[in-house]
Subunit: 368 residues, 2 copies
């Protein structure tokens, strides 16, 4: 078990990762959030709940308090909407929720994002706790307080900064994850290594087999290091006014890929993996990476593949980057790798540079 | 012109009240919020815009910047919804809004609440400025950062605390307000006096004629004092964990009246006026007000009437108070007058005490 502290101007909380957290959730939440309120809600997906409800509820029943009221979100981006958030707040009211209520988001990234957003606006904000069940949610979206929903015009365009009271990343629940989901999630750990943690990179190079075999110790090491990186960045820049933007490494082109394929062709981590390849190539073109570094990092990305083949036009992808949320006042921002374990934000990337990087990526992605 | 400072843990800003603010808005906003962004939005109602667009836009055109993009909200509570907030954020995206954009809420309380809420969640929060056009919005809802929308289950159940960068309460725009709206709005000023400002109460007793005749000096005095009271309370308790609850004086029964009449029978200020009569009677019953004080305060309320007659059952009103947002964990909170210029929150009001107070009010309200 590892405990990682997040300390932002608006909140301090712990992220716990390890095995057996789910079995002891109630006393742990009580310790983190104070006396448990009369009404607790758990937002989850039907799949997760059918697998884990009994384990989840066990520690609440032991405390002899009313068990959490379960609310459901069907899986998939189409449900990450304002309409879902509104439905959840209405259900919370009707089930006796008030300002003292607590919400537990128990599921993948979408459950965490929608649940956190509903908590941030219900009665102008109630506390919530993240219990992420996918690798991706454990190492990325559950930490840092960014919550929100999509608009038809783009992803995460509506939301809040609302820090959880605690995050419990139980490695035990990852057992039901498919190999493809695990591999996609590990791309965010590779990202963590590239932008800020050489030691994590080396570990992922050397222990790929153990990690992909889901050895608990190896997974805990990767998850804890990824969370530690994110917690450190978020603690220094909660509102993404500077440093936090480096977390978007690989995301400019990655989001564009998701957008032009309408979020149907690949998993988020897979899109980010290709986006990282494009960003690395841009770093090589600008001389912030050596040929050897580019080769080493690309090799690592493919080691955690396979990645989906792409049959897209570079122009369409470059055009889709224009609506990136990082852009403000007409300025395009791009996260550039600076050697290994470092990254920075630049604002002078030209469309033709971007197109060259995307073409490099598309060339690699022909083979799939 | 008067300037009142609000200083909360999350923000510091000025509320300006006086005449001629609308004509000089652009440089004033620039002074308060920093360099004006490429894209500014103004949320308003069709009525307000048809009356004031030219005056409003004048100072922006003088600065030779792109004029604000106008967004519209039809009048009335039925439009104070999540769906409206979503529509506005979508329109902002399509009109080129980004994280650096600024929103100006130019209208009554609903425009301010919905506009502030949209600003609080658009791209996880952009700055906004309040330019309230009704008396009620000027003295109450535009100050303090409470923004939000309704659910079918109740008012303001979804929202945020999001402080504006500045509030400009221009007395000049009140000219188009109906007498009934002005009188209803003045009830919030009476509330301000009862809970915290004896001087304001005395002024409203002595200068009722000038105030109701809309003498600019008299109005400015009342508005500034009301805002000062609210700014002071909000600065001490931004998130309504204690003191700020006294602002809900008269609102427990007032909200219940609005609820049982489905927000159609009376203006908010009128409901609050009757709610204050009930709360005063409860204070008298508990001995926190003398008979003379009750008489004096009721007389003042009726002086700013007429109030609508009520033909309702006490039971229904008492039942409707159960869903008050102030209640948490089953505890009912009630704001009790403590003499003149003081109030406190109690948690031990019984249903029968409440019913007696409501019956007192209904008795007074028979005559209308």
């Amino acid at each position: 078990m590892q405990t990682i502290r997040v300390a932002t101007p608006s909140a301090r909380y712990d992220v716990l990762t390890g095995s057996g957290l789910l079995e002891s959730l109630a006393p742990r939440i009580e310790k983190a959030a104070g006396r448990l309120p009369r009404r607790i809600f758990v937002l989850t997906s039907p799949e997760i709940w059918s697998l884990w409800a009994e384990t989840f509820l066990h520690s609440f029943l032991e405390l002899k308090i009313d068990p959490p009221v379960a609310l459901f979100l069907p899986p998939g981006e189409p449900h990450k909407t304002m309409a879902s958030a509104e439905r959840l707040t209405r259900e919370m009211i009707r089930a006796g929720g008030d300002r003292s209520s607590l919400l537990i988001a128990f599921g993948g990234g979408i459950v965490g994002d929608v649940g956190g957003f509903a908590a941030s606006v219900f009665m102008r904000g109630i506390p919530y706790v993240q219990v992420p069940t996918t690798f991706l949610a454990q190492v990325d979206s559950s930490v840092g307080g960014k919550v929100g929903v999509n608009l038809p015009e783009g992803k995460n365009l509506v939301g809040s900064f609302h820090q959880p009271r605690a995050v419990f990343a139980d490695i035990g629940v990852l057992g039901t994850l498919s190999d493809r989901e695990l591999r996609a999630g590990l791309m965010e750990s590779i990202k963590a290594g590239i932008i800020r943690d050489r030691g994590l990179l080396r570990f992922m190079e050397e222990q790929a087999e153990a990690i992909l075999d889901r050895d608990p110790k190896a997974l805990e090491r990767v998850i804890a290091a990824s969370i530690r990186m994110k917690a450190d960045v978020v603690s220094r820049d909660e509102r993404e006014s500077g440093l936090r933007m480096i977390l978007n490494f690989g995301h400019t082109v990655g989001h564009a890929l998701e957008q032009v394929t309408r979020y149907k062709a690949m998993l988020h981590g897979e899109a980010i993996a290709w986006g990282m390849v494009a960003a690395l190539s841009l770093g090589r073109a600008r001389g912030t990476l050596t040929a050897g570094q580019l080769d080493r990092l690309e090799t690592l990305i493919y080691l955690y593949g396979p990645l989906p083949a792409l049959k897209l036009r570079a122009r369409a992808i470059v055009a889709a980057t224009a609506s990136d949320k990082k852009n403000t006042g007409g300025v395009r921002r791009f996260v550039l790798p600076l050697g290994i374990g470092n990254a920075g934000v630049v604002e002078d990337v030209t469309p033709s540079e971007l197109e060259a990087a995307v073409n490099y990526m598309l060339d690699k992605a022909k083979a799939g």
